[in-house]
């Protein structure tokens, strides 16, 4: 797939059959505010793709449109070639597109391991009678769910905190729990909204390693919003830069760093 620094050109390329996610001319209007204005980009399976831009550029709104939390004013979103715009968010999640939230949305009064069981709800034996009578199938799915939870807790280094209340974890631990809660659903595409926000440098390095491991070991593609430039430039295959809702550049980290419009957007106005 070619990488154009001109987003309008990307929009006209016909969909490549290998694309995992195709976003075409996505726009979202809130009253008089055009929060997202004609955003288009493609993602390959297993790719790490970042959206950057100043505060209020509309990055989270793009996530909300892709994930079905907002109904986009116009534009299309294809996941594996199938249109998902307009579907309710839980249907989109079941198709393998899950996300974390900029302000963390854990089930705070539940234990860490319970958080991981809830995200497996759709894979569990939820029929009423089998649970009431604890049928073998019910027991088996519960045990398997717990085993998967243990696996992911080990992966993100939270196993020793499994029985704590999620709301009592340290901030960085909550961020990792939210990622584990997404990964346990076997997503094709993981959307991370500012995963490094509030992390210390050591935790940010761990996060970098974790995201790379997710891609290489679990074949998940990652779409990332992040303000930490060293993390973004080091980890991303491609970057989309937004300003005032509009895409101003797309390209590899090296291309983005050289792009005069990006430099102007970041340096000229801050």
């Amino acid at each position: 797939m070619s990488l154009e620094s001109n987003p309008a050109a990307t929009a006209e390329t016909t969909s490549t059959p290998s694309a995992l996610l195709e976003v075409r001319q996505l726009s979202m209007r809130f009253g008089g505010l055009l929060a997202v204005d004609g955003v288009s980009f493609d993602m390959r399976p297993g790719q790490i793709f970042a959206i950057i831009g100043p505060n209020g550029a509309g990055k989270t709104t793009v996530f909300n449109c892709i994930g079905g939390f907002y109904r986009p004013t116009s534009g299309t979103v294809l996941l594996d070639g199938q249109p998902i715009h307009g579907l309710p968010s839980h249907r989109i999640a079941r198709q393998g597109l899950v996300r974390t939230f900029q302000n963390l949305r854990l089930f705070r009064t539940m234990t860490v391991v319970e958080n991981l069981l809830i995200s497996q709800h759709t894979q569990l034996e939820t029929r009423l009678l089998s649970g009431l009578f604890k049928t073998p199938k019910y027991r088996r799915t519960e045990t398997e769910a717990l085993e998967r939870a243990v696996f992911w807790l080990e992966k993100v280094g939270l196993l020793h905190l499994a029985n704590r209340e999620a709301g009592n974890l340290a901030y960085g631990q909550q961020r990792r729990l939210e990622i584990a809660r997404c990964m346990i659903t076997h997503p094709k595409l993981l959307l991370l909204d500012e995963p490094a926000a509030g992390l210390n440098p050591q935790e940010t390095r761990d996060l970098d390693r974790l995201i790379n491991a997710l891609r290489s070991e679990h074949q998940v593609a990652v779409l990332l919003i992040e303000h930490d430039m060293s993390l973004v430039m080091g980890i991303s295959d491609d970057i989309l830069v937004m300003e005032y809702g509009r895409p101003i550049a797309t390209g590899t980290p090296a291309e983005i760093q050289r792009n005069p419009r990006v430099i102007k957007a970041y340096l000229g106005e801050e």
């Binding site: 391991v113 809830i118 009423l128 649970g131």
Partner: protein
Amino acid sequence: MPRNLLEAVLVALLAGLLTVPILGIHIQVDGIKVSLQGNAMPVLAIMAVVFAARLFQVPQKAATGMAYLSQRLPRPPRLAASYRPVLIGLVIVVAIVWPFTASRSAIDIATLALIYVMLGLGLNVVVGFAGLLDLGYVAFYAVGAYGYALLSMHWGLSFWACLPLCVLMAAATGCLLGFPVLRLRGDYLAIVTLGFGEIIRLLLNNLNALTGGPDGIGNIAKPTLFGLEFAREPSTEGGVTFHQFFGLDYHSIDTLIFLYLVALGMALLILYVINRLIRMPIGRAWEALREDEIACRSLGLNPTTIKLSAFGFGASTAGFAGAFFAARQGFINPESFTFIESAIVLAIVVLGGMGSQLGVILAAIALTALPEIARQFAEYRMLIFGLVLVLMMIWRPQGLVPASRPRLELPERAETAP
């Protein structure tokens, strides 16, 4: 001080104004002559008390004092897990043996309390666990009661055959109502359910041909013990009654004891089912949804079906209790299914502590037994009821027994070092 004084005077005047219609005027009936008689003493007394309380800031002091106390009081000891089944077993045995030693009226009140326990437990799932405010809960109770009355009247089906049918009917009604409504925000649900409760009552009142209108339905068959009736004489030709079968003398109290035991069994069944449910994926999903609906959606949980399951379960519990209510009363009319019933059940849940089953059980018993015991205060029932609710909101908003959720924990073996 002057500000306190001024406030105290105003509050006392307000109290006087409010108590005049309740305490200051008595209706005098003299033969056919009805007259009103003023009586200033109680009103003045109340005004004086309110004035003094306000002047010396008694409520505020009491509130801070209570808050201080409730922090200092030792928390009730958590029972070791191994003792719990023993204790529960003991309570159940006592509950089974007790009616054989109790008086008729006590058994009757206890049966009524058990009906409210069932209703409270069911609504607790909807309001306490799933966080859906249902103000028309009595509608499903009515569906169960009328369902049994009609099935038994027209097709002669027995109580035990009707019970699952009533549960299904109430659940179906719940789903039918819930499906369009549960997509809406919480407050709309409260309004729509409130209206629905009234609609059901009006239907019962006006569908004369089906429900008998305001006259209701009478002569509803009582539950039987494997076909054995509790009556002096069998109601059908060739039927056998309980005392004939076992060769006992007829005691009318046997019927009451049997009804009590049936209610106890039904309440225990509901308790068991709920306790399984809240440990199952669906129960966890109810709680997760109450805590953060957006997070649930982002993980693929369908909020509508999860809410619907809680709403439907609550409705079916009410239908279950309703069928028993009809069988116990032997007579039902729409008067038993007014909004006040929904309000009482909701009060039971709030007083007991939302999501707390022990609390709901205790509150249900308190709210049904106390008015019967303190009959001389019957006139002030609603007044006291409101006062208790207000005081609870001030001092213990989490309810009598604050909910403690059953936490799923990973077994120790997995808890080894990170």
